[in-house]
């Protein structure tokens, strides 16, 4: 179809810069195809992550023309190919090499979250009864492919570098999936407020905008969690009742 110019960030932990490559773009190609072609034709050692090439694994996250995207789901036909296409790694995480960044923050963040803790089974064979309508809310969150594009675009991480105090939108979705799971009995509100930093989120909705799975991260996960935290810790009436009767924390689950 046409030779197109790509500016690809090449570098490591210490330094790096954009390098230019030309490759032939044919019908239906996605950005990841172009990266693979460049890799095979002129840069065998160009580092990038990928697996499924179908938007299901969330490995090939990068910034294409400045936008956080899955390279495998970004079609070149939809872009202006008369100009150079820039491809760079996710910038909210430290670089490792070329398009690969160090996403270990995300694995550490998940480790900190209390795991699923189900109620006793409903039936003798160890199974539970749940209605489809009761699981749908959670199923939306469980669509997450952990591409971390929401983390990449979140200014609390990207600009303010609060990686130690703020788990990020992906993990609010994860907590929401656990908190709203019909079977789960654990309480995660204290950590959400104290160590996971939900208060830092000022609902700019950038995460929702970039989610390739179209999860309504802010409205369906973060805001309800913020409300639960507010109910639990900042409701004056509840505070008085707790002080008067010395009640332990009410369980805010639903």
């Amino acid at each position: 179809m046409a030779m197109v110019n790509f500016k690809v960030w090449r570098g490591d932990k210490i330094a790096g810069d954009f390098q230019e490559y030309q490759t032939d773009v044919t019908e239906g190609m996605v950005v990841l195809d172009a990266v693979h072609q460049i890799q095979a034709e002129s840069a065998n050692d160009l580092a990038c992550r990928w697996n499924c090439k179908a938007g299901k694994c969330g490995s090939c996250s990068a910034e294409v023309n400045g936008m956080p995207r899955l390279m495998c789901m970004t079609r070149l036909n939809d872009m202006d190919l008369s100009k150079s296409i820039t491809i760079e790694p996710m910038r909210a995480f430290p670089p490792i090499k070329d398009l690969v960044s160090d996403v270990s923050h995300n694995y550490r963040a998940k480790q900190k979250i209390k795991p699923f803790q189900p109620r006793k089974p409903d039936n003798a064979d160890g199974s539970w009864n749940m209605q489809q309508q009761d699981v749908e809310r959670v199923q939306e969150f469980r669509k997450c492919i952990e591409c971390y594009l929401c983390q990449d675009v979140c200014h609390v991480l990207r600009d303010h570098h609060k990686h130690d105090e703020f788990v990020g939108p992906r993990f609010f979705v994860y907590v929401a999936a656990l908190e709203m799971h019909p079977l789960d009995e654990a309480d995660r509100l204290h950590e959400l407020k104290e160590t996971q930093g939900i208060g830092f989120c000022n609902i700019t909705k950038c995460c929702t905008k970039v989610c390739p799975e179209h999860i309504t991260i802010t409205d369906n996960a973060i805001i309800p969690l913020k409300e639960r935290v507010a109910d639990e810790f900042y409701d004056p009436v509840k505070k008085v009742i707790r002080r008067l009767f010395g009640l332990s924390k009410p369980n805010n689950k639903s």
Partner: protein, 607 residues
Amino acid sequence: MSDVETLEYDVLVIGAGGAGLRAAIEASGAGVSVGLVCKSLLGKAHTVMAEGGLAAAMANVDERDSWRTHFADTMRGGYYLNNWRMAQIHAQQAPDRVRELEAWGAVFDRTEAGKINQRNFGGHAHPRLAHVGDRTGLEMIRTLQDHGIHQGIDVHMECTVTHLLKGGERVAGAFGYARELGKFMVFKAKAVVLATGGIGRAYKVTSNSWEYTGDGQTLAYDAGAELIDMEFVQFHPTGMVWPPSVRGILVTEGVRGEGGILKNSLGDRFMFRDIPDNYKSSTADTPEEGWRYVTKSDINARRPPELLTRDHVARCIRREVREGRGSPHGGAFLDIAWIKEKIPNAQEHIKKKLPSMYHQFKELAGIDITKEPMEVGPTTHYVMGGIRVDGETQMTAVPGLYAAGECAAGLHGANRLGGNSLSDLIVFGKLAGEHAAEFAKQNAAVTVSNEQILQAQRDALSPLDSSRATLVGGAYQVQYELQELMQDKVGIVRTEAEIMEAIDTIQILKEKAKSVSAPGNRQYNPGWHTALDLRNLLTVSEAVAQAAVRRKESRGAHTRDDFPEKDDEYSAFNFVLRKGPDGEMQVTEELIPEMPHELQQIIEDHK
């Protein structure tokens, strides 16, 4: 060897898809130390791409289902070459493994009564696949991952094993490199579980990712284990065919399970024209009956022919294309949009049941599957063959070496039923983990010679030797040549002459692979990784070809143009491959052990 990091575990698991994770969880639960090594980031393994569901006879939707029916379906689907003991264990234990996933947080779609819902799939007599829309694999791997990270397992991500280490006859660990800096790693272990998946990257059109380079099969083979049934490579009938860059990406069988029909360019529903004898009594006579089956509105209705086994559907599509009735880009039409004639809100129903298919076609092909048909054609999907294991313990011929999941063989015989692989992963992943832990408890560690480690290091470094002749395109070029070769000569339909040609060419490619050089250094260098993976791809390709040339019949996924019929003589044995003393590939025929009367009776009862 200051450059090498050495770690010790009781059990080392290689591969972190469904089988590897399940094995690691089980071994860790048995109280031994466990290391888990994976080529990609945790949670990205191939399991994540599985769509349709897990087969388990829970009888939540049709109470007539039982492990016996599941067993009989699996054996019939595999043309009775299966390891019957594995097929029995699988059918018996799958329901508990599915319920266990729910206990670990998986959220399956529900029936009206609030149970785990089950859907129809090819070759399964009853609706049997527990599922979550069309992203069941994601649900499964995430559940295992999120449970597994709290079990005290040491995970080494982006780390590739290139050699198994031995101490005498026993396996003693593994050698590999960590991707980030290219640092070498030695994992000493009392027992090792291989759970590395398949070989799809040996083919040009495939639904498999870069990871699927036959690593486990080759590691086991080189260490003295046996490979079995390697001629059986599953070509999934429905991969995307257009645009070219997405060719091969999977279109779930769930589309047909939800009522999708196959048509050729004449608008003819061609699957009705060719129904194999052993499925005639269980296949619908009319489209009407097929629809009643799909909607479960009539329990006596029989399945539509689109839900016949994958090998058969793939061959029918290929026939339509070859005889000039294909779709514009060389496939067939798969239509789910037509159900709007049958049900209200069809559009919403399709999006709900097949969300990722809707998404995939919309974004990659610009097609709205609720309005127009998809174009589909066969794609390399799965290998039924692999490492030969004991049906009960999953141990290979090498003491202390276990294998589970796609890299192991036996359960599926000559053709795998859809849905049986996800259940395979958790049933046999668990057993492999359990028995590996037991082995580690009963056996002390063995010593690994330094020479083995030094040799592994030399092998791994050789592609970076800049004095080597530089081949244009390097390792990528050899990989492309191999993929073309396997696609053309040892693909869906095979002949003796073509397979022989492939065997000869593989020898030439092996020589080429020995001299490819990778530019750059050890730091996250895909050129180097591709060069190292080539050895594995070439080994498994040779294994497929060597077995394929000997099976002079057509059975299951193995179709020979020069022997188009099934031959009873070949129903009695499997082809087993071993590495000979001079490194040559030895192939023997081995009789399938006789099935106990009780199991034979189950098969008779279900005919």
